[in-house]
C-alpha cells in the first residue's frame, strides 16, 4: 500500500501506542568546504555555519517513517555556538521539536563526553526508540551511539538497513558482509542506521516555513545536571597528540590488455590476498 510507513510490518493486533522517536543529529561543517584542523588541539575547526550531517538525514527519514502520523520525532544535537541550521533542516523534513545542547564547556569533548551529554538530553524526551547514524561524516569514530545506549541502560543494535516496530519490540535487518542478520530487541533501545538505506525526503516549502516556529529547547551542561569537569577538555579521556598527512598514494599498476589482462588482474588480487 503506498503511503504506509515502510518498515512497520504487520498486520498488528490491537492498537499501537504512538511512537516517540529520538533521532541524534550531528551538525557538521559543510563537507564541500575545505576542512581545517586547529593547530594546537588538532581538532576540527567548527567556527563557521554547520549543516545537518548527511549520515543523519537517513536517521531522520527512518524516524519519521516509524513515527508516522500519530507518533513524533524529537531531534537531539550537541553543537557549538547555539547552532541550529542543521536542526532546522530536520524540523523542515517533519520532526516535531529539537533539543540542542550548546555550552562553551563542551569544547574539546571526546566521544564519551559527547555520549554523556547526549544521553542526558535524550532522557528528557523519554523515547521509545533512539536512532543515530552508524558513524558521523566528520569524526566517524562510530562509537557515540553505543556509548549512549550503555549510559541509558538500553540495548543497542547497529548497522540497521531496515527497522520495523511491533508489539513493544523492534526488528532490525542488520547489515553484514554476507547479507543481513535479523535481530529482535525490546523497546526502548538504540539503533544505528547505515547511510543510503532509505531515501531522505526533501523538505517541502511549507515544512521549511514551519520549521522556524518549531520548538528548539536550548540547554547547557548545568541544565543537564552534568558536572562541567566531566566533559570538554576537562573530561576528555583521550588526546590527539599529533596529526600527520596521509602517505601519497603510489602510482597504480597499468594493465594493458593483450588478451590476458583478466589473468593478470586475478594474479594481482591473489597476491594481495583479496581473492
Amino acid at each position: 500500500m503506498s503511503g504506509a510507513p515502510i518498515g512497520r510490518w504487520g498486520p498488528l493486533s490491537g492498537t499501537i501506542a504512538p511512537m516517540n522517536v529520538v533521532v541524534c543529529v550531528k551538525q557538521i561543517p559543510d563537507p564541500a568546504a575545505p576542512a581545517a584542523l586547529d593547530a594546537q588541539s588538532h581538532t576540527l575547526v567548527r567556527e563557521g555555519k554547520l549543516i545537518l550531517d548527511d549520515s543523519d538525514a537517513y536517521g531522520v527519514e527512518m524516524g519519521l517513517q516509524l513515527a508516522a502520523e500519530d507518533g513524533e520525532v524529537t531531534l537531539v544535537s550537541m553543537a557549538p555556538n547555539g547552532e541550529v541550521s542543521g536542526l532546522r533542516t530536520g524540523l523542515a523534513m517533519g520532526a516535531a521539536k529539537a533539543i540542542l545542547v550548546s555550552d562553551g564547556a563542551l569544547k574539546g569533548s571526546d566521544a564519551l563526553s559527547t555520549a554523556k551529554v547526549l544521553a542526558k538530553a535524550i532522557e528528557r524526551a523519554q523515547p521509545d526508540l533512539v536512532i543515530a547514524a552508524t558513524e558521523s561524516t566528520d569524526g566517524y569514530t562510530g562509537t557515540t551511539p553505543v556509548q549512549i545506549a550503555e549510559l541509558l541502560g538500553m540495548p543497542s543494535v547497529t548497522f540497521a538497513k531496515k527497522i520495523s516496530v511491533a508489539n513493544g519490540s523492534v526488528r532490525v535487518e542488520r547489515q553484514t558482509e554476507a547479507g543481513y542478520d535479523e535481530v529482535e530487541c525490546p523497546l526502548p533501545c538504540v539503533v544505528t542506521v547505515t547511510a543510503g538505506v532509505v531515501e531522505p525526503r526533501y523538505p517541502s516549502f511549507k515544512g521549511i516555513m514551519a520549521a522556524k516556529s518549531k520548538p528548539v529547547d536550548q540547554l547547557t551542561v548545568a541544565d543537564l545536571g552534568l558536572d562541567a569537569s566531566s566533559v570538554g577538555w576537562a573530561g576528555a579521556g583521550q588526546e590527539i597528540t599529533g596529526v600527520a598527512a596521509a602517505e601519497e598514494r603510489g602510482a597504480g599498476e597499468l594493465v594493458v590488455d593483450e588478451g590476458d589482462a583478466h589473468e593478470r588482474i586475478v594474479a594481482f588480487l591473489e597476491q594481495l590476498k583479496l581473492v
Binding site: R88, Y202, P203, S204, F205, K206, I208, A211, K212
Partner: protein
C-alpha cells in the same frame, strides 16, 4: 536585503539538491527534445508541496472572487489575489518563486520558461482577469501544473508590435465569436491543454484594425478548427517546446471570453497583456542570475584547473578580467532581484521603466557572461560536456522574449522623457 535569508537559503539548498539529483542528469534528454519537461516540473511541484500551496491560494482567491461577484460588483483585477484592490506586502513570498528559478537556470532555463509561461502567464492571466467560473474551469488545474498552459499573443507579422499589429480576429456572432488567425513562437504551444488567446474584435464596424479592442479567450486543446504545431527547431532553450497555433473558424461561446462580458468588450485585453510585464521581467532577471552564477562558478573552477605555460590560466590577467566582469554582473543582477523581492514584500512594485531596466541589464549580462565563459574555456567551452555553451545559447533568448532589448529601451526612455 543583502543576502538570502536563512529560510530562503533552506529553500535554495533543498531545490539545489533536487535539481542536481533529478534534473542535471537528465538535461541532455530534455535538451534533445526526447522528453517534454512537464513531468519534471510536476515532480518539482509535488516534491516541494508547491502544488498544495498553489491549491490553498487558489481556494482563497476563488472564495474572494465569488464574494465580490455575489455583491454585484464586477470582478476587479488584482495582482495580490486578495480581490479587494488593496495592495499588501507579500511577506517575501516572491522569493519562494524566484529562488527555484535561479536554481533551475543553473542547469536548464528551458524548464523555467515552460513552467513560467504556464503558471505565470496562462494561469496568471486567468486568475487575474477571469470570472469565478472561469477560474474554476481552467485555473484550478493550471495553478498546480496538472494541466499545461500557453499564452498566445505573438503573430508572424506582429511581435514587438503585438497589440497594434495583431491580425487574429474575433468575429461577433449572435451567440458568441468565431476566431481566426495564426500565432507563432508560442511556448508550450505544441502540448498545451489550455490556451489564453488574444484577438481583435470584429464587430462589423469599420474601426481601423490597429485601434480595435483586443479580446482575450480561453481555448482547449482539440477544439474544432484549432491546430497546434510540432515544436520548432531553435538556437537553444530546447527544453521548452515552442510552436505555432492555427485557428480557422474556431467557434466559441461567451463563456470563453475572459472576464465579464462588459469589461471584455471594452478591450481590456490590452491591459491584460500588460499586467504581466513587471512579474515577467523580474522572472527573467532571476533566470539571468542562475545562468550567471553557474557560469561564474564553472569558470573560476576551470581557470584554477587549466594549466598553460606552466601555470594556471587563473594567473593570466586577461582571464582575471573576465572573472571580475562576471562577478560585477552577478552582484548587479543579484541586487536587482533583491530589490524586486524587497519591494514586493513592502507591497510595492517596480515601475514599468524600472522593470524594463532590470530586464535589459540582466539579459545582456547573462548573455555576455555565458559567452565569456565559453571563451575562457577555449575549445572545451565550445563542447557540450562543459555545459556553458548550452547556457550561452539559452541566455540569448532573454534578450528577445518578454520584450526585446530594444523594446525595453523604448519603455525606459518613454518614462524618462515623460518626466
Amino acid at each position: 536585503m543583502f543576502e538570502w535569508s536563512e529560510e530562503q537559503q533552506a529553500v535554495r539548498s533543498a531545490v539545489r539538491r533536487f535539481v542536481e539529483a533529478e534534473i542535471a542528469p537528465r538535461v541532455d534528454e530534455l535538451e534533445h527534445g526526447d522528453v517534454p519537461p512537464y513531468d519534471v516540473i510536476r515532480s518539482l511541484y509535488r516534491t516541494f508541496g508547491m502544488d498544495q500551496l498553489a491549491r490553498d491560494r487558489f481556494e482563497r482567491t476563488l472564495a474572494q472572487r465569488r464574494a465580490v461577484e455575489a455583491s454585484g460588483a464586477s470582478a476587479q483585477p488584482s495582482g495580490d489575489g486578495d480581490g479587494d484592490g488593496v495592495r499588501r506586502g507579500d511577506g517575501g513570498a516572491a522569493a519562494l518563486t524566484l529562488v527555484p528559478i535561479v536554481e533551475l537556470c543553473r542547469y536548464c532555463p528551458g524548464i523555467v520558461t515552460a513552467m513560467g509561461v504556464s503558471i505565470g502567464l496562462a494561469a496568471g492571466t486567468i486568475m487575474r482577469r477571469g470570472t469565478a467560473d472561469q477560474m474554476e474551469r481552467w485555473g484550478r488545474d493550471l495553478v498546480t501544473f496538472d494541466t499545461v498552459g500557453a499564452w498566445a499573443i505573438t503573430e508572424p507579422n506582429s511581435g514587438s508590435d503585438a497589440l497594434g499589429g495583431m491580425q487574429a480576429t474575433a468575429r461577433e456572432t449572435g451567440d458568441g465569436y468565431v476566431l481566426n488567425g495564426n500565432k507563432t513562437f508560442i511556448t508550450n504551444g505544441p502540448f498545451a491543454d489550455t490556451i489564453v488567446f488574444y484577438a481583435k474584435l470584429d464587430d462589423g464596424s469599420d474601426t481601423p484594425m490597429r485601434s480595435r479592442p483586443v479580446l482575450t479567450f480561453v481555448l482547449d486543446r482539440g477544439m474544432p478548427g484549432l491546430e497546434q504545431s510540432a515544436p520548432f527547431r531553435k538556437m537553444g532553450l530546447h527544453s521548452s517546446p515552442t510552436g505555432e497555433l492555427f485557428l480557422s473558424d474556431v467557434e466559441v461561446g461567451p463563456d470563453r471570453l475572459l472576464g465579464s462580458a462588459g469589461q471584455a468588450a471594452s478591450g481590456e485585453g490590452r491591459q491584460s497583456a500588460k499586467d504581466n510585464f513587471v512579474t515577467e521581467r523580474a522572472g527573467v532577471a532571476a533566470m539571468a542570475l542562475g545562468v550567471i552564477e553557474q557560469c561564474l562558478s564553472l569558470s573560476v573552477a576551470y581557470a584554477k584547473d587549466r594549466m598553460l605555460w606552466g601555470k594556471a590560466i587563473a594567473d593570466l590577467q586577461l582571464i582575471q578580467l573576465k572573472l571580475a566582469r562576471m562577478e560585477v554582473a552577478r552582484l548587479n543582477v543579484e541586487n536587482l532581484v533583491f530589490r524586486h523581492i524587497e519591494m514586493e514584500a513592502a507591497g510595492r512594485s517596480l515601475s514599468l521603466a524600472e522593470a524594463s531596466a532590470m530586464k535589459l541589464y540582466s539579459a545582456q549580462a547573462a548573455t555576455e557572461v555565458a559567452m565569456e565563459a565559453v571563451q575562457l574555456m577555449g575549445g572545451n567551452g565550445y563542447m557540450a560536456d562543459y555545459r556553458v555553451e548550452q547556457l550561452a545559447r539559452d541566455a540569448k533568448v532573454f534578450q528577445i522574449y518578454a520584450g526585446t532589448d530594444e523594446i525595453q529601451v523604448t519603455h525606459i526612455a518613454r518614462d524618462l522623457l515623460a518626466r
